[in-house]
Symmetry: C2
Subunit: 648 residues, 2 copies
């Protein structure tokens, strides 16, 4: 990426979106790359991602709404309005936030596929939430009433500010896709209340779960009120000085062990750590704090090098849903919360906008295809909370009518007692188009390859339109057709992933050029109808792991393009366990219809009273052939066992 000029807020205002970032989940005031709105970058309904966005709209949104109703979490707001709480309050201390995340999802969906039905849901949700707000702006169904704990009496676990953060993000979505309405009033009331209560002279603490910071920063951007940014900065400055109580797992759980500027790596509860990092990037960008930005880049770098699963998943502790120490990445106890994957995308996206470094887009792609695509079922009505890389026991199919435990089965569940992930997935799919491309003073950048169309005004130059046709990741050919162009030279940057050796770019019928990983740039005076063809090599890649990741030393993983594969027991002879399969590394691997056909043996180790011995017992080996399937498609064929890292 050779672009070095930053877009200023003023230049940004020349784009097709208004200066406050119309249609954008995150709209930095100044970055190298400017994001596109959810309406400027649209997914085709039949592409890998467009299909999933439609399932999200058609199934997941309504599913989440129905479950929140049924679980009583929405009813909490009605009870608050009626003054009958705490009687009948349902759900955990963070259940209010689920309504906000879902509201945010509906707002994005309404922007890209408007309908009276969606609008009615949005307005009804806003009304119910608003009715629960108190006169001073405070809004929470779990604290502050007779029979409840006092407001802000449990900052470690109470999630009051966390909930606000999601409310503010919902308000941002509504404002940027619809305009000012009741939700802006509610959110302003909340944000002003937070500034009054936690400002420089207020409570000198932070929320146990970061999220208010990223919410305040974006709400500050959209409203232009710098008090919200300042409040977020205060929260970011306070954390890390032991302002929260110590707990069994240490203050690192809350990222309250070390100030964010002094930390070397993401640590503690993964979602907390990543929401906090996203906010810190926003703050660095808004204040032009290059040191803070560089610190966050270094934290990201070490986290990706030592604390990230091959799927892009983050978090290896079940106990505290936390990052493990460096190289503690066991497959079978992988946690890889879906929300951590989403939070990781949020961080990488903000770093990409700020720096233009391709590595952030690479990690986003890995996380999209192997966490975000994996978490929901094909029908969009059940979800993984945790995305393990090795399932040793089949477990049972969760009951359709019950709230499941978080990390309990090999099967996706319709709902959880802690159901952050389904609603987070919903808002992410509903705004997914916005993560595909960016624009800079030099032209447009394609970061993710999704069939669809982009139309955006290049600052001071005019409208660029691009149609993207591709069957990616099933096929490596991405065809970009220019559908609108200013009558002057501009640059189209195409991301070539780090795994893509010998990728080729061909413009119209010119000779193709081999391009290196990074951004391949095509600069010219484009004409409508010009095509740029990027061909990414989809060879099967067999990879091993750094020797310090003990848990997977005897295994290999398979990747094709951005997709990680896995072995499921349903593809082995009946009664076999995935742990029985040993790969013949010399045998050929054939990719057929989206599966990888591999050869090896089924091993039966003789029963032994003690599993440690000088010489391993000779196993009984039966030659066998089986197939590996994309990890994102696993667990759709009934309970079974699964391994991403296959024994060799």
């Amino acid at each position: 990426m050779s672009t070095t000029t930053e877009l200023t807020a003023a230049q940004y205002a020349h784009g097709s979106a208004p200066s406050r970032g119309r249609g954008l989940p995150a709209a930095p005031s100044r970055t190298l790359l400017a994001p596109l709105s959810v309406t400027a970058s649209r997914l085709a309904d039949d592409g890998f991602w467009g299909l999933r966005a439609r399932i999200n709209a058609d199934a997941t949104l309504g599913h989440c709404l129905a479950w929140q109703e049924r679980a009583g979490w929405l009813g909490n707001f009605d009870r608050a309005a009626a003054g009958t709480l705490p009687a009948g309050r349902a759900g955990r201390e963070f259940s209010d936030s689920e309504a906000y995340k879902l509201l945010e999802a509906y707002c994005w969906e309404q922007a890209t596929h408007p309908s009276d039905e969606l609008e009615a849901v949005i307005v009804a949700l806003i009304d119910r939430v608003g009715a629960a707000q108190e006169a001073d702006g405070y809004l929470n169904t779990n604290f502050g009433r007779d029979g409840q704990q006092p407001r802000y009496s449990d900052l470690e676990w109470g999630h009051e500010l966390y909930n606000y953060g999601h409310l503010l993000q919902a308000a941002v979505a509504r404002l940027r896709t619809h305009g000012p309405d009741r939700l802006l009033e509610i959110a302003t009331g909340v944000a002003d209340h937070v500034v009054r209560t936690f400002g420089a002279d207020g409570i000198q603490s932070v929320c146990g779960h970061a999220e208010i910071e990223v919410g305040l920063l974006e709400f500050g951007r959209v409203t232009g009120n710098s008090a919200y940014r300042d409040q977020a900065e205060l929260f970011l400055q306070r954390r890390g000085h032991g302002v929260l109580s110590d707990i069994e797992w240490g203050r690192s759980y809350f990222q309250d062990d070390i100030p964010i500027r002094e930390a070397e790596v993401f640590r503690g509860h993964a979602v907390r750590a990543l929401y906090l990092a996203a906010a810190a990037v926003d703050l660095a960008v808004e204040t032009g704090d290059a040191d803070l930005l560089a610190t966050l880049e270094r934290q990201w770098e070490r986290t990706v090098a030592t604390r990230t699963y091959i799927t892009g998943g983050m978090g290896s502790h079940h106990q505290d849903e936390a990052f493990g120490e460096d190289f503690v990445l066991p497959s079978d106890r992988a946690y890889c919360e879906s929300c951590a994957g989403i939070a990781s995308i949020m961080v990488s996206w903000r770093l990409l906008l700020a720096t233009g470094n391709v590595r952030y887009a690479d990690l986003i792609e890995r996380t999209l295809f192997n966490i975000l695509a994996t978490a929901p079922s094909a029908d969009g009505r059940s979800f993984f909370y945790s995305n393990t890389l090795h399932r040793r026991t089949p477990g049972e199919t969760p009951e359709e009518r019950e709230q499941s435990k978080r990390a309990d089965s090999s099967q996706r569940a319709p709902w959880f007692d802690v159901s952050c992930c389904p609603n987070n997935i919903a808002r992410t799919f509903a705004s997914l188009g916005a993560y595909v491309a960016t624009v800079s003073v030099e032209g447009a950048q394609l970061h993710q390859y999704a069939a669809g169309a982009i139309e955006v005004e290049l600052p001071e130059r005019g409208v660029v339109g691009l149609a993207v046709a591709t069957r990616y990741p099933d096929d490596g050919v991405i065809a970009v057709t220019v559908t609108a162009t200013p009558d002057e030279q501009w640059s189209l940057d195409l991301r070539v992933p780090a795994w893509a050796a010998h990728a080729r770019v061909q413009v119209n019928d010119e000779a193709p050029t081999v391009v290196e990983p990074g951004y391949a740039r095509v600069s010219r005076r484009f004409a409508v109808g010009d095509t740029v063809l990027l061909t990414l090599p989809l060879d099967v890649r067999v990879v091993g792991a750094d020797a310090r990741i003990d848990a997977i030393q005897n295994s290999v993983a398979f990747e094709v393009g951005p997709v990680v594969y896995c072995l499921e027991s349903v593809d082995l002879p009946a009664g076999s366990h995935v742990d029985d399969f040993v790969l013949d590394t010399d045998a050929r691997v054939d990719a057929v219809d989206g599966a990888l056909h591999v050869t090896g043996w089924l091993e039966r180790v003789p029963a032994s009273p003690w599993p440690y011995a000088a010489a391993a017992a000779t196993p009984e080996r039966t030659p066998t052939q089986t197939r590996l399937v994309p990890y994102h498609s696993w667990a759709e064929r009934g309970p079974g066992t699964m391994r991403v890292w296959v024994r060799r």
Copy 2:
């Protein structure tokens, strides 16, 4: 073991101990092997175990007493007596039990090394505890008062019955080492209260933490009151039918998922599972229930084959302090709670008495040398709660004046907010002599090799005295001298551990005989002064792991006799991490002064932005020599990193 005749209670009464099992932690009414009292089997002060028992007496007991006082846990009883609770109550819901475990420890110590000082501590503790007892027998400092939760309102987590279990075990110790006193009255009051409250017509539930069962069974044995056994049986029958609430980690945490007769393996919270199993063996023995006993033997068998660390440690989850699924045995996230090791010894000991199967004594030995000997520091004043097999970060030395977190550092800590382990260690060391030998109708059996002396009356034959001299495990020679014998033939059985190939037994100056693992029997008309010399081969054993234990596939462990070794970073060049060391498996290993000298390389892997690749980066290798030390001696030289499983 060819002994097939069970000792009956009547025969047992002919022994030197009274029929109620004088000096015994566990005195089954009828078993194949009868245990010896803590006074009949005495440890020499300078042997491996005798030395530790003295440190326990001289340092650990007082340390625990001082900490319980300082933490306010003993003061809770005074406050209860004064009627001032809940104001000022200190500690967790199970803190009462720590006083009981420590009281038990003092009772055993007073039996083997009586002093006025010990007696004064015991009497004072009994008085303070007794003063807190209510009129109906109820005794707990955390429930039932105004401002506290009602009695038995939180059976899942309240630990009321659990606490009683430890009180009953303390009462057993006092009764069997001293005789009836105030503690018997207190315990009888409690036990009768439990029978009234939880009997057939009482509360139809169980305690979330098993322990009352094993306490009631032993208290029933010592008092001869079958109502206590019946109550324990009721508790054992109820559990497994979902009588407790479901929780995030599942009812298996409480072993309330499946009735004990239907389970196939130990599961859930390790200490809970093992205390429950110990009680179930006691019940099976008391009721002659061969099916139940066989079920427990199968559960033990699978647990040892698939869920046990090489150290004998049990429990691989931090989250719920629980057993993992089969073969989930990561070194770096090993939990191996010290209490689980003690509980495992309790189970194996009961199964050994009931069946005479040598495998139980083998596992006890492994657990003694690698968990019980590891948990306390050399000075007996700090402890591991969790016994990991791989420490990746040095951590810091816990503060002398602070209660530490349970699994927080590479260094032992003086005390924990949850301090079950120090007191459990104290009672186990104080009664350790009792686990060394047994007696049967055919003679005496030596199961553990500790320097010391045994004097026991063979049923209907007379007194046998044995002096055991050995430097084991530093030396493989165990010399047993007959110091008293009846004037007729009897058998001396010497355990030959499973790892001991080509062990030899020599009687007096006769030719030595090679003996197989199991029990080596010497039957004859012994004379005073006869010596039996057992020589166990202490070759260095290099072992690998079953292929299904993914976490340690690229590594080997070292054992000498019963002792597992480990690599500590303090034995590597400064700045090196144990993960940098790669063993040269072809190089010679020399055992010198209790350490193993090994050869290999220090590897520096080039920094990489992503830890997964088709070809591993070529590391920079520096040849190096280092040493491995007994695992039980690790972490005595300041913070560092450690591995039991060394990379090869």
